[in-house]
Structure formats: C-alpha cells, structure tokens
C-alpha cells in the first residue's frame, strides 16, 4: 500500500505524483498493446506463450487475494467473532484483487472481447482453465455482493444493504467452495505440461499445493495490510478495529504457521512420490531448496514464534516473507522452472513494457483501494449501522 496516505490538504504528495506518472505511462502502453498487438509490448514467443501477466498478475494476484475467503470463513463459519473487524478490509482487497486480475487478463487475452465465450456459448469442460474462468467469474460476483454493503451504507440504501447482508452465510460458503476450486485449478493448469515444468515443481499434487499455499498467502495479506492501514489510516479506524487488530494478527499468525507447516511437509511428499530426490543436487535443486527453506519453512517458524510470544512485529515480517514466498513459488512454476529444458537464448525474459503494465495495474488497484478505504466504511463502522452484523 502506498506509504503516506496521511490526510493531506493538497493532492500533490510525492506518492500521488508518482502514482500519476505511472498511470500516465500505463495508459500509453495500454493504447499500444490494444492497437499494435501483444507482440508490440511483450517478449512472448511461440515457445513462451505465457509471461508475467499470467505468472504475476493472474497467479499471484489470485493467490494474494485469498484473504477474502479465509477471513470471512474464519469469522462467519468458524465463529471467530473477535476478528470481525478484519472481514471488511479483507473482502475489499479480495474484491479489488479479483477485479484487477480480470482486468489484467484482458491485456493478455488475444481476443479479450471473447472473454465470456467459455462461460456462455462454447464451454470447454475438459480444461482446468475453464474451471478457473467459471469460478473466478462466480467468485467475483460473490465478492461484489459481499463487498456491496459498504457501498449501500454510504449511499444509505438500507434495503439493499440488509438484503446483501442477509446472504452472508451462503455467500461465505460459496466463497470458500469457489476459492478452493479455482485456487487449486490454477495449479491444475500445469498438470498438462509435465514435459515442460521442472520435475521438482511438477507434481500430481500441483492443484493441492496451490490451494494450500493460498491460505497462508491470504492470511499474510490480511496481517500485512492490517498493519499498514493501522499505521497509515489510523485516523480512519474506529475503536473496535484498533482493539481487535492485535488479536487478528496473532490468531492469523498461528493459523498461517500451521498451514505453512502442512504445506512444507506435503511438498516433500510430492518430491518423494515422483522420486525426484536426485534433482536436489542440481542447480535447480538448490533453487528449490531456497524456496522451500527460505520462503516456506522460515516464515512458518517466524509465525510460530510470533504466535508463541505474541510478537506482532515478527508476525508482520513473517507475513512479508510469506507473501514473497508465494510470489516466488508462482513465478517459479509459471516462468522460471517452466521450459527449463529450452536453451538459454530461447527462455523468456519480460520486456520493460510488460513490467510497466503490470506496475500500472497494481498501482491502479492500490489507488482504488486507497480511495475505498478513505471514502467507504471499511476500517470503521458506519454510524447508522453500528453493530448491524
């Protein structure tokens, strides 16, 4: 999140100026991409059809937006009322996250205007991508409804607000189901390419790995954002949020620790099942170990310690490492360890324009998020709807 969102009279804060510049460049490149084709801005080739727009924007975007379903499930299904204040921010970020994943997808799709095809006239049910598309579409709707009360409240449309709210439970359950499916399906995408993905990353468990790792990813994002908004949007937060924040952080830290631990073990079982041990002594093996030890085991232990010792700061750092770890894992699978057998000169390296567009989309997302957090009752309850949930 942008780093000085203090309520400044002037709009000309450094952050805003930077944002403006990025957005400007982004818009230019957007025009280029949609007028001169994918080839004009990307380094994609016939050997490397998927670049960072899929590897980062889609895979990481979805994984990091998992905070929505984890939090709402924790609160509404597992009755952790004390974390209630965390739900709205989480839902908001998740909603925006998914919205922008779809937005980014439009850049990557050759014929973006046909995006609805798979869900309407030409379904292709044998494809995991169909699975992903279907679930993301549905889940986006679910999130929209879950998020809408914040809007209705500001607009004071009580009826709608209560209607939306009355669906909470069913939406939450749908949310978890859909998330489970498309989080795992993103991994499932690569099940088809055993000959291209390095054996250490390829596993019949790919889908399972993606789902499990999405949980700590989501939790970590909540912790991370929670702490940031606590720092920079303190004035926007009401007492409940401020009081509950530590509980949320530590509770989630504990959960994340447990899940990361499980994930770590399962990954090794994955290696064992395909008997890929010998690859560990290769360069790829070292890289795999870096991911496993440095970005799964380490954050797991950090979280554990944080939870044991009620150390919020540590939990915050752990959340950062986890998020980085998830990003690393997704990029490894989609770009680094993919096409590992190709000669170096044929490997994919993103062009600066690709990166710029990704940055542009992320910035756009953050900006919208900032506006939401500032203008909508997300970090605080709406005076007229106190305790109405």
């Amino acid at each position: 999140m942008s780093h000085h969102t203090t309520p400044s009279k002037t709009l000309w804060t450094p952050a805003n100026i930077l944002t403006a510049v990025i957005l400007a460049i982004g818009l230019i490149l957007t025009v280029k991409r949609f007028t001169m084709g994918l080839g004009s801005v990307t380094n994609l080739t016939d050997d490397n059809p998927w670049g960072i727009w899929i590897g980062f924007d889609l895979l990481c975007g979805v994984a990091l937006a998992a905070g929505g379903y984890t939090t709402s499930a924790a609160v509404y299904l597992f009755g952790m009322k004390k974390y209630h204040s965390a739900v709205r921010p989480a839902i908001t970020t998740a909603f925006l996250g998914y919205a922008f994943v779809v937005f980014a997808l439009l850049y990557d799709l050759g014929r973006y205007y046909r995006l609805p095809y798979p869900l309407t006239i030409y379904p292709g049910p044998t494809s995991f991508l169909f699975e992903v598309g279907l679930c993301v579409a549905l889940y986006l709707t679910v999130l929209a409804i879950e998020f809408s009360p914040a809007l209705w409240e500001t607009l004071r449309w009580k009826k709608l607000r209560f209607w939306a709210h009355s669906l909470t439970l069913v939406l939450t359950i749908f949310g978890v189901v859909l998330s489970t499916l498309h989080q795992s399906s993103l991994g499932g995408l690569y099940l088809l390419a055993p000959s291209k993905l390095h054996p250490l990353w390829y596993s019949p468990y790919l889908a399972l790995f993606f789902f499990i790792s999405s949980i700590p990813a989501g939790l970590s994002m909540v912790i991370f954002e929670g702490r940031l908004s606590h720092k920079f949007l303190h004035h926007k937060m009401d007492q409940t949020h401020i009081d509950e924040a530590p509980g949320v952080t530590l509770g989630f830290a504990k959960a994340a620790a447990v899940v990361l631990f499980t994930y770590f073990n399962l990954k090794w079982i994955g290696v064992a099942l395909d008997n890929n041990w010998h690859y560990l002594s290769t360069g790829w093996g070292t890289w795999f170990l870096v991911e496993m030890l440095g970005f799964v085991l380490l954050p797991c232990l950090m979280y554990a310690v944080a939870a044991r010792e009620k150390n919020q700061k540590l939990a915050f750092w752990a959340s950062i490492v986890t998020v980085l770890g998830i990003v690393l894992n997704r990029l490894n699978i989609s770009l680094v360890a993919f096409n590992w057998q190709l000669p170096t000169e044929l490997r994919y390296v993103p062009s600066w324009e690709e990166i710029m567009i990704t940055v542009f989309i992320v910035t756009l997302e953050i900006t919208v998020l900032r506006i939401c957090l500032n203008k909508l009752p997300i970090l605080h309850e709406h005076p007229e709807f106190k305790g109405a949930h």
Binding site: G124, T126, L134, S166, T168
Partner: protein
C-alpha cells in the same frame, strides 16, 4: 453415446458433472433452508445474531 477418444468422453462427462454441481449447490441451499426452517434460533442463511 459413442465416444472414440478419451477427450470426447471427458468433454461430455465433465460437462455433465458441471451441470450436476450447479444443481447440487442450489439444491443444497434449498435443502438446508428446509432443514433448519423450524429451528427456534435460526441456523438459516440469515445474518447471525
């Protein structure tokens, strides 16, 4: 129905499975409502508390 390739077979069966899922989900909600309609403290899909 005659299928020549595993792909055709999956195309059909998975399609059916998806439809089944949709129906199943909706049915589940309905069933849950029916199940918990009479509970004094509504378990139903209304907001808690």
């Amino acid at each position: 129905m005659e299928f020549m390739t595993l792909h055709d077979f999956m195309f059909w069966t998975k399609g059916m499975a998806y439809i089944g899922m949709g129906v199943g989900l909706v049915a589940f909600v309905a069933f849950w409502l029916f199940l918990s309609e009479r509970d004094e403290d509504k378990f139903a899909d209304t907001e808690e508390e």
